[in-house]
């Protein structure tokens, strides 16, 4: 009798397993009221992307889109593990600037070259180029970015200086550090804060302004170049900021915008999204927005590029996923809806023009002239991240080297070690 019961149990378990397999193979995307369900992942909070999802689902009633948020510092790992492992639970994903080649080479995203002509017609050219690798387009443009020099007007004026403005001359880094030191002498806690401390996004414009290049050279962008004079000059300057106390050690990227908003720093380098943080305090500071500084004798350089949107190679609802990606990128209502609740430039040309018109009013009068400034910066100073299959290794090694230099390591030996390590990692690719 017991044996019969065990047999019946096994048979039931087997039947359930087979049933599960059959359901999984035959109908991979469980319908929600007759709809095809897809999942879209990114790093922003769900409420920020809700207008995009609502706009799409109003247009395509046959598709339901769910959004999942993955923390930024775990994003690459999660995508690699889930999509690389064939998880059909991700249909659409955001791809950071510079990461398209790495994702494509690992087979994580599908070829979207058929959409190239439409993307070129509707989007900012640099945002299309960002996802171009091995003569194919791997993701469609979604957002782009710009960074600015934010200045606490009261702290700088207390030092007897006139703060930089959107319409004024671009300051040099040397001028910024001098003014930051004077502001500290006049009472500012900190001189200069970076929003994305040590990250490649923040470091690249410094190095490019000093003539150091992106750090990746060669036809396939897999030759490490981190110890040239430009890199050494820029990182010497960076390390000195922290050694002199102009910028604080031990304060991480999550805190700097809040410290500036709390009136503790004279200058802050950050993106337009920092405006939200600046409007949060009960007594907001009086600030100006100006062009990204450059090194004296060097060239203007500003970090740009942002997320693109792609179809996951593990999706079992690729058609619906592709429809959503096209809506979010190529259509003006879709791309504009993606930035309805956040301050970041969209890439669709018409949506971008609307963003430029709106941004002056984002926190008027502080943000007056920001739209025109954004346009001129994207034309004159924007540097995109290198589209190399070794982008993950590049950001990891540069981030660690920058952190070590910030904490006092000698610049040249640190960069030489970083270059050797990066080359060794790239050689394994």
């Amino acid at each position: 009798m017991t044996r019969h019961r065990i047999g019946a149990g096994l048979a039931l378990a087997g039947a359930l397993t087979l049933t599960g397999c059959a359901a999984s193979d035959g109908d991979p995307t469980p319908p929600t009221g007759g709809k095809v369900e897809i999942t879209f992942v990114g790093t922003d909070p769900a409420e920020d992307l809700a207008p995009l999802l609502e706009a799409f689902m109003a247009e395509r009633e046959d598709i339901a889109v769910n959004y999942e948020n993955i923390p930024f510092d775990q994003y690459d790992n999660v995508i690699q593990q889930r999509v690389g492992g064939g998880d059909a639970g991700i249909d659409v994903l955001l791809v950071d600037a510079g990461a398209a080649a790495a994702y494509a080479s690992r087979g994580l995203i599908v070829d979207l070259t058929d959409d190239l002509a439409e993307a070129q017609a509707s989007s900012i050219p640099a945002a299309v180029e960002q996802s171009w690798w091995q003569d194919k387009l791997w993701a469609l443009p979604f957002w782009t970015s710009a960074t600015y020099l934010f200045t606490n007007k009261d702290l700088v004026e207390a030092a007897g200086l006139e703060p930089p403005t959107a319409a004024g001359e671009r300051w040099t880094w040397e001028e910024v550090v001098d003014a930051a030191g004077r502001a500290q002498a006049a009472g500012a806690e900190y001189g200069l804060l970076f929003e994305q401390v040590d990250l490649y996004y923040q470091m690249q414009p410094l190095v490019e302004s000093a003539g150091g290049g992106s750090g990746a050279k060669g036809a396939d962008l897999l030759t490490a170049d981190l110890a040239n004079p430009g890199w050494i000059e820029a990182l010497e300057w960076y390390g000195q900021l922290f050694a002199d106390g102009v910028s604080p050690r031990g304060v991480d990227a999550n805190q700097t915008a809040n410290l500036f908003a709390a009136g503790q720093a004279a200058f802050f380098i950050g993106g337009p999204w920092a405006i939200y943080t600046l409007t949060e305090p009960e007594r907001p500071i009086d600030y100006t927005v100006a062009a990204n500084p450059y090194f004296k004798g060097g060239s203007p350089a500003m970090a740009t590029g942002s997320w693109s949107i792609a179809v996951s190679s593990s999706s079992d609802a690729a058609e619906a996923a592709h429809a959503f990606v096209r809506f979010a990128s190529l259509t003006t209502p879709g791309n504009a809806a993606s930035v309805a609740r956040i301050i970041i430039p969209p890439t669709n040309q018409a949506a971008f023009d609307d963003f430029i018109a709106r941004i002056d009013q984002a926190d008027a009068p502080h943000t007056a002239g920001m739209g025109e400034l954004t346009l001129s910066e994207l034309r004159q100073a924007a540097v995109n991240r290198p589209n190399t299959v070794g982008f993950t290794q590049l950001t990891d090694v540069v981030g660690r080297a920058s952190s070590d230099i910030r904490n006092g390591s000698a610049v040249e030996p640190t960069l030489r070690r970083a270059q050797a390590e990066l080359q060794s990692l790239w050689d394994r690719l």
């Binding site: 690699q80 080479s105 990692l425």
Partner: protein
């Protein structure tokens, strides 16, 4: 036709057919507790094979290949991944940092846990409340503990505020390559000491009180009692605590990931963080698997030596 030998005739009995041996074996097995024992052990053995041995075999196998992320190809590498790791200055630094970390954290945690346990084993009024306070940090999740201490370690954090109040200079803590590893050790010991103390208190309470009473009659002092009675009787518990603490310390990950990411200058790049970074952040799983195998070999070696040292002198 020749009659076969019979038992009655005193002639040796004919060889029993082979099936007879099987029935005897079956009878013996039926009498033996082995099948039942095996049946009871089967779930544990199955789990051990599925969760421990099979992944380990998989790691060894994968570590002998090289998987290229750019070409998506896999090729036989032999010992190439091990040679790459052992000839890499970064990995050698990881091994050195991990060794230094263990050399400091295990004696510190076990020594302080033993001291605290000895004090807590005393039967004095209010000792229950004191025990609770010592054990309380154990309840804090590792990530919460790391982030809480991270805030305290900040340049304008509470620890520097206290130092300033005492007239001492500010300390860089996590941003100094000389202090960051010690700062991580403090975080881990904050929870670790309470945890290991629990085991040692239990071990101390198992020591018969008569031994101390007899020693007291003989005029032995506190130190003599500790050396001659407490330590010898606590040997097995101590062996467990030392080995388990070593293993858990080697597997330390959360404070490094949450606070330093291995920096500054690789001074807190412990092997588990390095392994995670190579496997998941950089996606080089074959190199990560080689690191797993090396970690396991080192761990088995360290634990074997500890067991040997701690069991020396046992009857």
């Amino acid at each position: 036709m020749t009659a076969g030998p019979t038992r009655s005739g005193g002639v040796p009995a004919p060889e029993r057919p082979r099936t007879g041996s099987f029935s005897r074996l079956r009878r013996n097995l039926r009498r033996s507790p082995a099948p039942q024992a095996l049946a009871f052990l089967a779930p544990a053995l199955l789990l051990m094979v599925v969760l421990r041995l099979a992944p380990m075999a998989g790691a060894v196998g994968d570590s002998l290949f090289h998987y290229s992320l750019s070409t998506q190809s896999r090729r036989w590498e032999g010992l190439g991944n091990y040679i790459y790791l052992l000839s890499s200055p970064e990995f050698r630094q990881v091994l050195a940092v991990t060794a230094l970390f263990l050399v400091i954290i295990v004696p510190v945690q076990v020594g302080l846990a033993l001291l605290v346990a000895t004090l807590l084993a005393e039967r004095t009024p209010g000792i229950g409340a004191v025990r609770t306070m010592v054990f309380l940090p154990v309840a804090a999740p590792a990530a919460v503990a790391a982030l809480t201490w991270g805030v305290a370690y900040q340049p304008k954090g509470v620890i520097n505020a206290v130092l300033g109040w005492l007239g001492l200079p500010d300390q860089p803590f996590l941003s100094s390559s000389d202090q960051a590893l010690l700062a991580i050790i403090v975080i881990m010991s904050w929870t670790g000491i309470g945890y290991w103390t629990m085991f040692l208190v239990a071990g101390l309470q198992d020591i018969p009180l008569e031994l101390y009473e007899a020693a007291a009659i003989d005029g032995a002092g506190w130190w003599a009692c500790f050396r001659r009675i407490t330590l010898p009787n606590l040997r097995k518990t101590l062996a467990f605590v030392v080995v388990a603490d070593t293993v858990s310390s080697v597997l330390s990950f959360v404070p490094v990931q949450a606070l330093t990411q291995g920096g500054p200058s690789g001074s807190t790049r412990l092997i588990m963080y390095d392994l995670y970074n190579r496997s998941f952040a950089l996606g080089d799983t074959s190199l990560g698997q080689a690191e797993v195998v090396l970690l396991l070999i080192c761990l088995i070696g360290v634990v074997a030596v500890q067991f040997r040292l701690l069991s020396r002198g046992e009857a």
